[in-house]
Amino acid sequence: MSREHYLQPDSSLAGAGFLDSERFASAGTSCLPDRRSFLRCALCAGAAGTISTMAHPLDAMSLSPAAQNQDDSQFTVEARFYQKLPNRRIKCKLCPRECSVGDRERGYCGVRENRGGTYYTLVHSRVCAAHIDPIEKKPFFHYLPGTLALSLATAGCNVNCKFCQNWDISQVRPEQVPADYAPPQRVAQLATQYSCPTIAYTYSEPVIFIEYLMDTADAGHAAGIRSIVVSNGYIQDEALRAAYGKMDAVKIDLKSFSESYYRQVVCGQLKPVLDSIVTLHKTGKWLEIVYLVVPTLNDGDAEFRGLAQWVRNNVGADVPLHFSQFHPEYLLKNLPITPVPTLERAKQIADAEGLHYVYIGNVPGHPAESTYCPKCGHILVQRMGLEVTQMLIRKGTCPYCGQLIPGVWHV
């Protein structure tokens, strides 16, 4: 599940403003001590809020010509990646959980159902959240910075993170949330119409709407629109290669570097996620990694160090690593917001381990939101919140020293 909040059409402005004020409070004590900086940050956050309000909710985009009285059958398509078993049972081969599902039952994700021995996805083209977001919100920092992404999600998720901020769409069955019919061609058409160079599969967990993701990516590519995905990476190898092979960039939420955390807080496993990251890197997809720092649960120095070493040794020092701030949500409302010094400590450790692009996320105005040249140290992409305020990279290199800066910088 993404840490990126899906904005309800009727509450996006209020939601963004509330969160931003909390972030200022945290940031102000650490990196923005003076009034000028505070006001600058507030202005920036206001701009970010404005961008969010520019986001077109599904209704405004008229994804579906007739949203009322949608027939469930139009969302129901035979699933890929499953195996038929005797007695009308099936085994799902989509994620490492490998749910064994009896007739008339659903898998752990809640969006796939066995009907008479055939497994169906119930969420094809069943979009419950859709917005136009800055790509920085995903976050992608080295992929088409400053552009907009047509972002969408269906209900459901294959894990159950106790900190999920989108749990009201990720931890429900599709029939429990309002949704619109948005077939792939319509999504591609809207992305073109609203000048979005990318379609982003995000908010809930794209693994569980993989058929829709694959079909939409094809439709997008046919229309010249790229596809990017924000995923937990908890997926089997065959499905990963088939589906994310169609993606132009992938962001993986690596939720911890500990199996016990994955078991207790995420309800999943770490090892398959690490395997996915390595596979994606080998296939040459643009890859970024986000690590949500949850106070007391995954914020130890040893864990940060182990993570940074693993990233350096397995996918290289050039893969961007984002340390994001946690906000109390869902089943972890008892924990505080991650202190900014904790995020800075994580960054220091990762920097010391030799990673070149380590960012701090969810703290608008923090200097570590920006991209710096690892060779000469000049700022190359300056960000404030979700806005790119300065973009100096030319032809993928640092204008000061000529250092190659990995990423996809221009459409």
Binding site: N87, R88, R89, R97, C99, S100, G102, D103, R104, E105, R106, G107, Y108, C109, G110, N160, K162, Q171, V172, R173, E175, Q176, C267, Y330, L331
Partner: protein
């Protein structure tokens, strides 16, 4: 001899204490189960009432015989001589009563509408208004497919699914569970009567009374790993459920000993029975024994040998949950035959 009064007084106090606990526990089911685990005096009563002639010539359940079977079940369970006396121990006039049935199996293998009708008849005789009774499960269409007559208005007994009212916005949490609860439970039920069916379950081992509460939450799919343990126990610990639960009446007119929870005719049999208890753990333990006996008759392995014994029953009975008793030695099993 001089020591005798001291010994007697000590024994007297001990007995008083035990009796007090027994009284407190015996008067209500979930209460009885709660506190009872370490007290050998406490037993939970489970009634198994059978009627070989329950079905008419067309093999459908006969309404009048079902009513008689229900009456026998309740009189035996609550040790009274008339059904209205029994029901007055469960409900009070003015209360809203919900019958949580299980309609997942379709017409072949859901709770019998005849049983629900019989319960509703007796509830009304006990002073509950028809409109204050709701027969419900997760989905209205599933209820219809199972043979229930949907009714969402008027002065009749109501019958509809949570899809008509939705789930609460706020999460209810206990232990490993965080779920939205059906608004039918939270807004339409002062008293909950659990009306499950008797089924084998590929993951949990068996699904009877405790697991039937999965139909009250919005995210049951999240709670099937590890044989549903500890999730089934934790769901039943949610205060909104535990505080309303008064009685479980398991519809064992048709039951399933293999291949569940979906209906597979080749693995079903017709015990023509009702199981009832105020202790859902004791009821499930007894139902599990019935399924194991049938499996043995059919030459199938025990659930334990298939590594799917219902471990959640021990969890439900442990000191953290105290939902009831799972020790067969402490379950008073009363069998009665209408024939």
């Amino acid at each position: 001899m001089r020591q005798e009064p001291i010994t007697g007084r000590r024994r007297f106090l001990k007995n008083c204490l035990a009796s007090a606990v027994a009284v407190a526990a015996g008067d209500g089911i979930s209460h009885s189960a709660a506190g009872a685990q370490n007290l050998p005096l406490i037993r939970s009563r489970v009634v198994i009432a059978q009627d070989p002639q329950l079905r008419g010539s067309d093999s459908t359940v006969d309404s009048q015989r079902m009513l008689s079977l229900l009456d026998r079940t309740m009189e035996t369970l609550l040790r009274v001589s008339r059904p209205d006396e029994a029901w007055k121990k469960i409900v009070r006039p003015g209360q809203m009563v919900g019958l949580k049935v299980n309609a997942l199996g379709g017409r072949g293998f859901s709770g019998s509408p005849r049983l629900a009708e019989a319960i509703c008849e007796r509830l009304q005789q006990a002073g509950i208004r028809a409109a204050d009774i709701v027969i419900w499960d997760r989905d209205t269409d599933e209820l219809e497919r199972a043979g229930f007559h949907v009714c969402i208005a008027g002065n009749r007994v109501q019958c509809f699914g949570t899809d008509r009212m939705g789930y609460e916005d706020d999460l209810a949490t206990w232990g490993s569970v965080g779920s939205r609860l059906s608004k039918i439970l939270t807004q339409r039920c002062d008293v909950l009567i659990n009306v499950p069916v008797l089924k084998d379950h590929d993951g949990a081992g068996v699904t009877i009374a405790l697991k039937n509460m999965y139909g009250t939450i919005h995210n049951p799919n999240k709670y099937h790993p590890n044989g549903c343990d500890p999730y089934i126990a934790d769901v039943n610990m949610l205060p909104e459920i535990r505080s309303r639960m008064r009685l479980s009446i398991c519809d064992a007119t048709t039951a399933c000993y293999e291949g569940g929870p979906a209906y597979k005719p080749q693995y079903s049999w017709q015990p023509n029975a009702l199981l009832a208890s105020q202790d859902p753990v004791a009821l499930d333990t007894t139902g599990w024994q019935m399924i194991e006996r049938k499996r043995a008759e059919e030459g199938l392995k025990a659930l334990e040998a298939e590594e799917r014994a219902p471990r959640y029953l021990a969890t439900a009975a442990d000191p953290q949950h105290r939902l009831g008793i799972n020790d067969p030695q402490r379950i008073e099993r009363v069998e009665t035959d209408l024939a």
